[in-house]
């Protein structure tokens, strides 16, 4: 058995996870993390295999470290993320029917207009924080608008997301702090998942309509998945995108030359930085992988981020290259639990990066980027930049 003593949830590792990911991949296809008594997989083949075998690697015991069969989760489990077939299929079918590529396309013009507006203001300012003023500002405007949330109270979305994503890790200081900061957000979120608080015609209202076979409480839980999964992830992807382009000016030049590459560029940002770094699964039976026997009932930590930079799968894996074919990364997961909002995220990334590329010649750091530590996500707390 290959064992490692590292703590993937330690502050220093979360701030710079790449070295650990390399060590994990090189150690072997399956590694035992003794500190948490869990298994880990970090190579593209094994991670993909686990993600696409939900019968063996289940989600209903929770996709965080906590085992729902032994501990009570801090909130009612998600009907999508923390569920298995057949319940999961029912919920997923309902949500995908509301988030089809066709529906997503209907938001394109509105999102593009908002992107132009935001970029124009920022170019005027010249210097700004690419996290607060860009990466947070855009999704926090267009996404709640699309869902049908009122203008007041949106400030609860990020603290709520921070609770959710820190909640997948151990009960460390990040979890405790997120729970404290988010305490007031919980009630607001719960309230705004209810049909009467969602604007007619919005995605939230449409979920309630499409989910007529579900109870009222379950319908609200389905809407909650939008609010948990749709904000922080996109925010981090956009912030990471700006840092990538500030760090690789040649790639910015390549995008400026052809702003229509912005969709592929966003895909590469997701592969390269993996805003969602990890998820757990739980084995339902004894399973042999890479010569290691994992017993039934064990937690397995899947390093999506490490898989996305596995040199066995990606040529020049550690190079940020917007011209590569990034499709097939697992930044949005894979299989039955693959992110249902991924087409929405792509649209947001595409229109915003294209708007920036059309207006901005150079992006420079105007201060040190500060990471935002999270047990699950990789992103920034602040990123001062100067644009010309």
């Amino acid at each position: 058995m290959i064992t490692l003593d590292d703590d993937p949830f330690a502050d220093a590792v979360l701030a710079d996870p790449v070295p650990l990911h390399r060590r994990l991949r090189d150690a072997g296809p399956v590694v035992r993390l003794v500190r948490y008594d869990v298994w880990a997989m970090a190579r593209a083949d094994e991670v993909t295999r686990a993600l696409t075998d939900p019968e063996t690697f289940c989600s209903s015991a929770g996709v965080g470290l906590s085992d729902f069969r032994k501990e009570t989760p801090w909130r009612p489990p998600s009907l999508l993320l923390e569920a298995d077939a057949p319940e999961h299929d029912r919920a997923r079918r309902t949500v995908t029917s509301v988030l089809t590529p066709k529906v997503v396309k209907t938001y394109r013009d509105t999102f593009a207009r908002e992107a132009e507006k935001l970029v124009a203001t920022l170019v005027e300012r010249g210097e700004f924080d690419a996290v607060a003023d860009f990466a947070e500002a855009f999704p926090l405007k267009v996404f709640p608008d699309a869902v049908g949330l009122p203008a007041e109270g949106r400030e609860h979305l990020l603290p709520y997301g921070a609770m959710v994503f820190n909640g997948f890790g151990p009960r460390n200081h990040l979890f405790t702090e997120a729970m404290e900061r988010g305490a007031v957000a919980r009630e607001w979120i719960a309230e705004h998942c209810r049909a009467e608080n969602l604007a007619p015609g919005g995605l939230g209202a449409r979920i309630h309509e499409a989910a007529s076979e579900f109870s009222e409480e379950e319908r609200a839980l389905l809407v909650r998945s939008f609010l948990s999964a749709g904000v922080d992830t996109t925010v981090h992807a956009l912030g990471n995108a700006v840092l990538c382009f500030a760090s690789y000016p040649d790639q910015w030049a390549a995008l400026r030359e052809k702003p229509e590459r912005s969709r592929a560029a966003f895909e590469e940002v997701v592969r390269f930085t993996s805003p969602v770094q990890t998820f757990f699964r739980t084995t339902t039976r004894d399973v042999e992988i890479g010569g290691e026997r994992i017993p039934a009932g064990d937690k397995v930590l899947l390093f999506l981020a490490a898989a996305n930079r596995d040199p066995r799968r990606w040529p020049d894996a550690d190079t940020f290259d917007i011209t590569r074919r990034a499709a097939g990364h697992v930044g949005f997961g894979s299989g039955v639990h693959a992110c249902v909002g991924q087409m929405f995220a792509r649209l947001e990334g595409e229109v915003l990066l294209a708007a920036l590329a059309r207006r901005v010649t150079t992006i420079e750091l105007a201060g040190e980027p500060r990471p935002q530590l999270s047990n699950t996500l990789r992103g920034l707390a602040s990123l001062p930049v100067r644009v010309r």
Binding site: R93, T96, T100, P101, F332, S334, A338, M343
Partner: protein, 107 residues
């Protein structure tokens, strides 16, 4: 190994060896065949791996599942009776000689 041909909208075509068990989307990407975007990586969520199957071979493919059915209504180029999502079609020995036409647009 079964051979599969991908025909571009301009009429040019490529015939490649298709590994049994891979999907027809993966085979196209493995061989660098243009015209299949496959944004979602094969999870029936993006409809950017749309292909038109030669009508006489439709029966050699498995039936449409509900996900594929729904996604085919979201293709960028018009859906036809012969439309399929290549990510949902696993290669079998029976598919030898299959011809797939690629649509004008995928996005």
């Amino acid at each position: 190994m079964p051979k599969v041909t991908y025909v571009q909208p301009d009429g040019t075509s490529r015939t490649v060896d298709a590994t049994v068990g891979r999907s027809l989307m993966q085979v196209a990407l493995d061989h660098g065949v243009d015209g299949i975007v496959a944004e979602c990586g094969g999870n029936a969520m993006c409809a950017t791996c749309h292909v038109y199957v030669a009508p006489e071979r439709l029966d050699d493919l498995g039936p449409l599942c509900s996900d594929e059915e729904e996604m085919l209504d979201c293709t960028a180029s018009p859906r036809a009776a012969t439309s399929r999502l290549s990510c949902q079609l696993p290669v079998t020995e029976d598919l030898d000689g299959l011809v797939l036409r690629l649509p004008e647009e995928q996005l």
